[in-house]
């Protein structure tokens, strides 16, 4: 009986030792983790883009709706909706060497921009693999779709998305 109880207690303790899910801290500020994030008028990929935020920009979290986050940036001068997958609770550091970087990296609190597998490493790799041609990789990355085009495409195809921008 005592042994059984101790197993249960140990397992319970073990479960507390597992990393807790990060569900946003009290400060409620997040970083843009995509190169160029769209801030939209409504919580939808069909919503007009009212502003743009860039890699590493910090935004303040105002409201959550499904997978969408209402954020403000540049001292609250701009507000709008971003999809949660464009944001991270980690702080993105654009240059290394800051004093608190070491412990923060270990704790997974920050992410380093332009480090690891980066443009620099790609350049080195291309230098060693001159037969590889990136022309079409670059060209395919140029094509974008704006919300107006997407709305027109859906309408012309008699498509009415039931759920969009992630999970219900």
């Amino acid at each position: 009986m005592v042994r059984c109880l101790s197993i249960i207690i140990c397992l319970a303790l073990l479960s507390f030792m597992l990393p807790a899910p990060a569900l946003g801290s009290e400060t409620e500020s997040m970083s843009v983790q995509v190169r160029e994030g769209q801030i939209r008028a409504t919580p939808s990929h069909l919503g007009s883009v009212v502003a743009r935020a860039f890699y590493g920009d910090m935004v303040a979290l105002l409201e959550e709706r499904g997978d969408w986050r209402k954020v403000s940036l540049r001292d609250g001068k701009l507000q709008g909706w971003m999809h949660s997958t464009a944001l991270t609770s980690k702080r993105i550091i654009l240059s290394s060497g800051e004093a608190d970087v070491k412990t923060s990296v270990v704790r997974g609190e920050i992410a380093l921009a332009g480090k690891g597998f980066s443009e620099e490493i790609e350049d080195e790799y291309r230098e060693a693999n001159k037969d590889l041609d990136y022309t079409w990789v670059n060209r395919m990355e140029e094509a974008g779709t704006d919300p107006e085009q997407m709305r027109a495409f859906l309408a012309a195809g008699a498509l009415s998305p039931r759920l969009e921008g992630g999970r219900p």
Binding site: L14, P21, Q33, H83, S96, K102, I121, V137, L154, P168
Partner: protein, 305 residues
């Protein structure tokens, strides 16, 4: 030590649990989605299940979206060194617009540099998706489609591989650890030439791990079935008929040539994929496909069939 066996037992249970978690994670994700949709569990319940899973797959998470993008670009360059691009701007623009529309309905609509689509000029039945969001499909695969919903299904399957991070999981575990160790060191100081060369070497091996899996050996059957299940849910959200995936696979069954170095080698047979999809009957909805949509497909891609 009286308590020793007890400790060993707990440790074994925990370890076994951790190992099983990784494999079970993908299945759990699909089951959680389905349970939410059918109302078996609430969204809050679903989120906490997913949060628990996320804690387990930490190491791959340490690669930023930016790093996955750079991996993706080079994987794309390797694929393009073996394939030529279809010189047909009409088809390219149509596939791109369709791709962007359904990517917005995926679980991962935002990537570092977004999604990018390119049609390859090849009779092979083939498609590739890089961790950076570059999606390639062949003319031969478009030939298996009879309407826009089927083409949407093809693209949704590839987007499924990206959202489930199958490409990243093709990297050897030891390589992941090695890379993350150097990258963590890079946080403290600028890498010297030796370390940069070492990281470039690892980068090259990462690209080889991913491309040889995609081009030669293929993902596991379970990854393919998971991408098919993800495709059903993406199609449903975007308003396409999920059943179109089955229709496309039935046509592929007629076109696929055993022994060819394409889907015939890297994917489970269309028949196995169909029977697996039918087990997922709750998601396998059949919706009417409006004429205007099929007309649009024929107008843009009919000449490839």
């Amino acid at each position: 030590m009286k308590t020793f066996p007890l400790r060993t037992l707990i440790l074994s249970i925990s370890l076994a649990g951790l190992i099983a978690c990784n494999a079970a994670e993908r299945m759990t994700a699909a089951a959680t989605d389905a349970a939410e949709r059918t109302g078996l569990i609430t969204r809050t319940h679903g989120d906490s299940i997913r949060a628990g899973m996320a804690a387990v797959s930490k190491s791959l998470e340490e690669f930023t979206p930016e790093q996955e993008y750079y991996i993706g670009r080079s994987v794309g360059a390797v694929i393009l060194s073996n394939h030529s691009v279809l010189k047909d701007q009409g088809v390219q623009s149509y596939v791109t617009l369709l791709g962007h529309t359904i990517a917005a309905a995926s679980d991962m609509p935002e990537l570092f540099s977004g999604y990018h689509f390119l049609v390859l000029d090849s009779d092979d039945i083939n498609a590739f998706a890089t961790p950076g969001g570059h999606v390639f499909i062949t003319r031969g695969l478009i030939r298996c489609c009879r309407n826009e919903d089927a083409l949407a299904a093809v693209l949704a399957h590839e987007i499924g591989h990206i959202q489930l991070r199958h490409g990243m999981q093709a990297i050897e575990k030891a390589r992941t650890t090695e890379a993350l160790t150097i990258i963590a060191r890079e946080g403290l100081k600028t890498l010297g030439p030796g370390e940069t060369a070492q990281l470039t070497g690892i980068f090259g091996n990462v690209i080889s791990d991913i491309t040889s899996t995609m081009i030669n050996s293929g993902y596991s059957r379970s990854f393919e079935y998971q991408a098919d299940a993800a495709a059903l849910s993406i199609l449903r959200r975007a308003g396409y008929s999920p059943e179109a995936l089955v229709g496309m696979l039935e046509i592929m069954e007629n076109y696929i040539e055993p022994g060819r170095a394409d889907f015939a080698r890297t994917h489970p047979s269309p028949r196995s994929r169909i029977s697996e999809l039918k087990k997922n009957s709750a998601l396998l909805e059949s919706l009417d496909i409006p004429r205007v949509r099929t007309d649009r497909f024929i107008r843009h891609a009919g000449h490839l069939l």
